[in-house]
Symmetry: C2
Subunit: 401 residues, 2 copies
C-alpha cells in the first residue's frame, strides 16, 4: 500500500505488555502491505529517573551531558521494541537518532533538526525491515548527541514522514483523537474526524495537550498528513491535514488553559515607544506575551494589560519593577487566578454571531470576562480560573450539539 | 607530567558518592599535572537490569539489539561522571565508544577492536579537558553499536592507553592490587609490587579475578604499563609490565580455580589419531580443554584424562558418549568435585626444587594430587575441591614468608 510512520509515546512502551501491544499494531500495519517506520520515546518514567540521577550529581548539569544522559532512554525503548517485533516474527532493526540521520543544530536540550539523511532508513526498508527509530534525539556538527526538547518525538516522527514522503504519520496516544473539548471534563465532547493544521495549532497552543506544536508546524510546512489515534483502542482517530473537509462544523473545539497570569501596568505615559519598552524588557528574559490589551490614553497615560505563562509571572513582575523608569510606568500588578478559554474553528470569521453566541453562553452562566482576544480562527477570553470548567461546558453546549 | 588512562568498573560508579569518589581521584591525578582519560563501565546493577528487561521480551534476543540496549549503561555513567567532574570544577567531556573512535568487527556481544581513531579524544585533551570514555563498546563498519564482551572496559582502557601512547593505564578495582593469593582466604597473602605480563596472564587464567586476560594480552602486545590499584584506598597498587624487576621473589602467586571438571576416557585404542578425534569433537562444541594426561598404552589401549570448565562438563560428556564409535572408546566418566591449584612465577623453571617444595607442602597437608601440569612459569595440580583452600594455604606458607 504505502509507507506509514507510527509514533508511540513513553506510556505506550512503558512495560512488557505495552511494548508487545505496540509491536502488534506495527505488525498489523505491515501485514496490510505497508512499509513501517516506528518512532518511540523513552519508556514511562525512564526520563524522570535519569533526570533524578543527574540532580543527585549537580543542580546545574551541562546541557551537553544532559543530552548524552537522556538519549539513553529512547535507545533502551528502540532495542526492546525491535526485540519484541522479532519475537513476533517481524524483521526489524532499531536505529538511534544519529543512525537514522537526524542532524541538528548545537542547541543542547532543545535542538532543531537541520537535515535528515534517510539513506540508512531507506536501505533498511528496502531490506523489508520495520525500522524502529529513537525519537527526540539527533547529532550536531561536532558529532555530539542532542535532544529536541519537549514533544521531540512527535517532531522526529513528522520529520521522518516528510523526508521519506510517507503516506501518513500516525501519532499514537492514550486518547482516541482530537476532541471538541477535554472528554474527561466535558462528557458531551465528541471526537473530530478531521481538523486543519491551523485549527490544530490553535488548539495545541491553547492547552489541548494532544500534539506538540512544533510537530504540527512541521507537518503543515511539508504537508504531512497526521493521524492522532489511540494505542489502546483500535478505532480511526482524527486526521490533521491542510484543509478539513468536514462541512457544517463551525467550531472544532473548546480549550482551557490555566497556565496564564495577567499583568497590568497602569499609568504608562501615552507617548510612542513606551509599550515597546515594556515588551522588549520581557523579550530579553525570553518571556512569551500572549494576549495584549491597551487602553486608550487618559490624562496622558494609558494602561497596558497582557498575559504571560504562570511560571514567568514573578520574573516578569520583577523585571518590570526593576526597570520602571525606562517606561515611566506606574502601578504594576499581577493576577494569577486566571484561565484562558478559547474556541477554535476555521470558518468562524465568515460566520457572524460566533462571538456573540460565546459571550451569551458565558453571560447566561454568570461568568465575568476580563479580557478578549480574537484571530481568524479563534476567540479567547480570560476569566477567573474558578469559572473555567463551567465556561468550557457552557460554550461547548452552545456550539456543539 | 604525562598522560594517564584510568579505568573504573561498575561498582566504582554505582551511586552518587562513588561517582564523586572517582571524580576526586581523577581531579587529583590531573592536579599533579597529568592529562587524564577515564574509561568507565555501566553503574552497579545497570547491565543486569537491562538484561532483565530484554529477558522479559524474549528468551533469544538478537545480539545486535542486545548491544544497542547494553551500550546505554556506559552512556549513563560517562555523562554522570562528566557532570561530577564539572561540579568539582574540572573541565570534562563524555564520549561514547563510537565518539571515542572504537571501530570493531561485526561480532555483536563479543566484538574485537579493529582500529582506534583517537582524533576526537586528542582534540578534547588539547582543549585541556578530562575525557570520559564509555568502555565496553564500539561501532562496526555498518555503523552499528557493538559491545566487547566480558572485561570489555579493561580492554577499552588498555587499547586507548596503547593508541594514545599513555604513560600508564591504571585499572581501579575494589582490591589494592595483585596478591600472592586471595587475601580473603589467605590472611598472610601479600600485595605484589610488580608482576610481569606473562605471570599476570597465568594468574588471571588461573582464577585470580583481578584483570581480564584480553586486556593483559593487549597490554603485553603494545607494552602498556598497567597498574592494578584500589579506588577506595589511595595506596600504590601492583604494576604489571614486561619484565618484573623485583629480585628474590620466585613465586608471584598461588591461585585456586574451582571451575574445573575432570573427564576420563578409558580404554581408547592405542592407535594414531584417536586422541585427536576426542579433542576435535570438543573443539567443535567450543569447549576449552586445559590439562591433558594420557597414559601409556596397555593391552593396546590407553586412557585419556583432561579438564574442562565445569559448565561444559555435561555437554562434553554427551558429545563424547554420542560419538563413542568415532574414537573407539570405552568407559567415559566425569569428576566434578575437583579444583585446580597453581603457583606462578617467571623464574621457577631455572630454580630446582620448586615443584618438590610444592608437592611436599601438599603431602604434609595430607592432600592427594590427581593430576599435575607444568609450564615455564607455572605448576598446576588437580586435587579434590574440598582440599583446595587448605592446599593454597599450605603452598603459600611454603613459598611466601
Amino acid at each position: 500500500m504505502g509507507l506509514i510512520v507510527q509514533k508511540f509515546g513513553g506510556t505506550s512502551v512503558k512495560d512488557r505488555s505495552r511494548i508487545f501491544n505496540v509491536a502488534r499494531i506495527v505488525m498489523n500495519t505491515r501485514n496490510e502491505g505497508n512499509d513501517v517506520v516506528v518512532v518511540v520515546s523513552a519508556q514511562g518514567d525512564t526520563t524522570d529517573d535519569l533526570i533524578k540521577k543527574a540532580a543527585e550529581i549537580t543542580s546545574d548539569p551541562s546541557h551537553r551531558e544532559m543530552d548524552m544522559l537522556l538519549a539513553t532512554g529512547e535507545q533502551i525503548s528502540i532495542s526492546l521494541l525491535a526485540m519484541a517485533l522479532q519475537e513476533l516474527g517481524v524483521p526489524s532493526i532499531s536505529l538511534t537518532g544519529w543512525q537514522a540521520g537526524f542532524n541538528t543544530d548545537r542547541a543542547y536540550t532543545r535542538a532543531r533538526i537541520k537535515r535528515l539523511d534517510t539513506e540508512r532508513v531507506e536501505s533498511e526498508l528496502a531490506r523489508n525491515r520495520v525500522v524502529v527509530v529513537a525519537g527526540f534525539q539527533g547529532l550536531n556538527r561536532s558529532e555530539d548527541i542532542t535532544t529536541l526538547g519537549r514533544g521531540g518525538s512527535d517532531t522526529s516522527a513528522v520529520a521522518l514522514a516528510a523526508a521519506l514522503h510517507a503516506d501518513r504519520c500516525q501519532i499514537f496516544t492514550d486518547v482516541e483523537g482530537v476532541y471538541t473539548a477535554d472528554p474527561r471534563k466535558i462528557p458531551k465532547a465528541t471526537k473530530l474526524k478531521e481538523i486543519s493544521f491551523d485549527e490544530m495549532l490553535e488548539l495545541a497552543s491553547l492547552g489541548a495537550q494532544v500534539l506538540n506544536n512544533r510537530s504540527v508546524e512541521l507537518a503543515k510546512k511539508y504537508n504531512v498528513e497526521l493521524e492522532v489515534i489511540s494505542s489502546i483502542n483500535p478505532v480511526p482517530g482524527t486526521i490533521v491535514k491542510e484543509e478539513s473537509q468536514v462541512e457544517g462544523m463551525l467550531i472544532k473545539g473548546v480549550a482551557k488553559d490555566n497556565d496564564v497570569a495577567v499583568i497590568s501596568v497602569l499609568g504608562v505615559p501615552d507617548v510612542p515607544g513606551m509599550s515597546f519598552k515594556v515588551f522588549s524588557l520581557l523579550a530579553q528574559k525570553n518571556i512569551n506575551v500572549d494576549i495584549i490589551l491597551q487602553s486608550s490614553g487618559r490624562d496622558g497615560n494609558k494602561d497596558v494589560v497582557f498575559t504571560v505563562p504562570l511560571g514567568d509571572a514573578e520574573t516578569a513582575l520583577a523585571t518590570l519593577e526593576n526597570n520602571k523608569k525606562r517606561f515611566g510606568g506606574g502601578e504594576i500588578s499581577v493576577d494569577k487566578t486566571c484561565a484562558k478559554v478559547s474556541i477554535v474553528g476555521a470558518g468562524m470569521q465568515s460566520h457572524s454571531g460566533v462571538a456573540s453566541t460565546m459571550f451569551e453562553a458565558l453571560s447566561n452562566a454568570n461568568i465575568n470576562i476580563k479580557m478578549i482576544s480574537t484571530s481568524e480562527i479563534k476567540i479567547s477570553v480570560i476569566i477567573d480560573e474558578n469559572d473555567a470548567d463551567r465556561a468550557v461546558a457552557a460554550i461547548h453546549d452552545a456550539f456543539i450539539h
